[in-house]
């Protein structure tokens, strides 16, 4: 499986890192390059969705091998405030996101042109262009792929749930009793693995469509280069005098919704809460960090300038003292 890191390779990488040994045997950042050109985005036209849940079912079937298989009993957690997240007996819940349900149908009944109308639309990970879950993951388990997919590596994730906290939509969902934490300090660090939509990265690698897009009888979703998808979203929005969500949210995502109703209106009308993400406007979570990162270039220059200034001052003072002595 491409980009898959086994426990063995994780331990190998960890030992190499901690011991600062074997650097040459590790992959160098040859893959570091601009990701914009190759990013794929999905377009979700909510007018077309009939809420049949075919996408939900297909996602569950195609990704079943990736779903958690927790070992019970779970390790005893310390301190006691650490809660177990167990969805293994509720794996068929489909009305929200869970570790076993990576896409669900959200509904909102609103008034459009004087008529009450119910809209349904698939909700899952937005696959942000600069995903805070991947940026802030302390362990390298969550990462963004060059094709715009953000995925969590279940072989590495310790289930600390940081990705969920920093995600503006709180998308990732935790399952206790599975993953690497069981092999490290199961009672004191970690709490399972975080799961979310990986946009069927393995199917995309094979040149296939993600399951939810492939199965949809109404062709609600479409996938393509982000530029083209954004262009098409704008064309539809212009045609229907509609609205777009996901293009600018959180600095830009790779999931673009088009609706004939303002998203604020949908957001007010739909059920939100745990596992049921909102549709509010979202500021770029990583904007401050990006600006600070650019400003970091100045810091060493300031340090060098200060040292040179000090040396110049001392040399000048020494010269003056010598002249006074003469």
């Amino acid at each position: 499986m491409p980009n898959k890191i086994s426990r063995r390779s994780f331990i190998k990488g960890g030992l190499a890192a901690v011991g600062a040994l074997g650097v040459s045997s590790l992959p160098l950042p040859s893959t570091a390059k601009g990701a914009d050109q190759k990013e794929l985005a999905t377009l979700i036209d909510i007018r077309k969705c009939i809420g049949c849940e075919a996408c939900v079912e297909a996602c569950g079937e195609v990704n079943e091998s990736k779903f958690p298989k927790p070992q019970k009993p779970f390790p005893k957690m310390y301190p006691k405030r650490v809660k177990v997240s167990d969805w293994s007996d509720k794996r068929y819940v489909t009305d929200r996101l869970t570790p076993y349900n990576w896409v669900f149908i959200q509904e909102a009944t609103v008034t459009l042109d004087g008529k009450e109308e119910t809209f349904s639309f698939p909700r899952r990970c937005m696959h942000c262009q600069n995903p805070p879950c991947a940026d802030l993951c302390p362990w390298g388990a969550a990462r963004k792929l060059k094709n715009g997919i953000t995925r969590i590596d279940s072989d590495i994730c310790l289930g600390g749930s940081k990705c969920k906290k920093v995600c503006p939509w709180h998308i990732p969902q935790r399952q206790t009793g599975v993953g690497l934490y069981r092999d490290i300090l199961p009672s004191f660090a970690g709490n399972g693995v975080m799961f979310k939509c990986d946009r069927c990265y393995d199917k995309i690698d094979q040149g296939e469509l993600p399951a939810c897009i492939e199965i949809c009888p109404e062709k609600v979703q479409k996938i393509g280069p982000r530029d083209a998808i954004v262009k098409e979203a704008h064309a539809i929005a212009k045609k229907i005098n509609g609205y777009i969500y996901g293009e600018k949210e959180n600095g830009g995502t790779n999931t673009i919704y088009v609706s004939p109703v303002p998203f604020e209106k949908l957001n007010t009308a739909m059920e939100k809460g745990r596992g049921r993400p909102h549709l509010r406007p979202v500021q770029d979570s990583m904007a401050h960090a990006d600006n600070l990162a650019k400003a970091m270039v100045i810091a060493p220059l300031a340090g060098i300038a200060a040292a040179v200034g000090k040396a110049y001052k001392f040399t000048k003072n020494d010269k003056n003292s010598e002249e006074e002595r003469e």
Partner: protein, 163 residues
């Protein structure tokens, strides 16, 4: 006040030295705060410490202090080559700490680069920089504590100036 073997710091140098120590302590704290442990282990429950469980806050502080650290290190290195090396020697412990700091700074720079919107690294390299940054900091902390206990300083006076 004697801060090193035979070398006396000026007032400005003392401020910089304590600035460095404080920067490293808060960098270490906010760095460890990038792991979801402060809430779990009640650190954020301590009055006035609620901010430590906010990952965006600790991340911003970490970045700001990384800027200060880069400035300080650039100053110390430049100052050493421009004038300091004539006055004092670096001890073996200093060379060890400098090596560790070099690793911490390099992996930190890659970590910052990785967080930029248009940069993506391979999964193996991402994992390597994440774990090596943490690992090197832990080794640095142990080394710093060891040298503090044993009283080994960063610098000793250059014998030719020790008159």
């Amino acid at each position: 006040m004697k801060q090193t073997d035979g070398y006396e710091f000026s007032g400005g140098q003392k401020v910089l030295r304590w600035g460095y120590v404080l920067t490293m302590i808060v960098l270490g704290f906010t760095g460890f705060g990038q792991m979801p442990i402060f809430k779990r282990y009640y650190i954020s429950d301590i009055p006035g410490m609620a901010w430590s469980a906010d990952f965006y806050v600790t991340h911003t502080i970490h970045y700001l202090l990384a800027m200060i650290l880069l400035g300080l290190l650039a100053y110390f290195i430049s100052d050493y080559f421009l004038s300091g090396r004539k006055k004092f020697h670096l001890t073996s412990s200093a060379y060890l700490k400098i090596s560790l700091l070099t690793g911490i700074v390099i992996t930190g720079i890659f970590r910052v680069l990785k967080n930029l919107p248009d940069v993506s690294f391979s999964p193996g390299f991402t994992l390597f920089i994440d774990i090596s940054h943490l690992g090197l900091v832990m080794v640095y902390v142990f080394a710093a504590i060891f040298f503090l206990i044993t009283g080994v300083k960063w610098i000793s006076i250059n014998p030719s100036r020790a008159v």
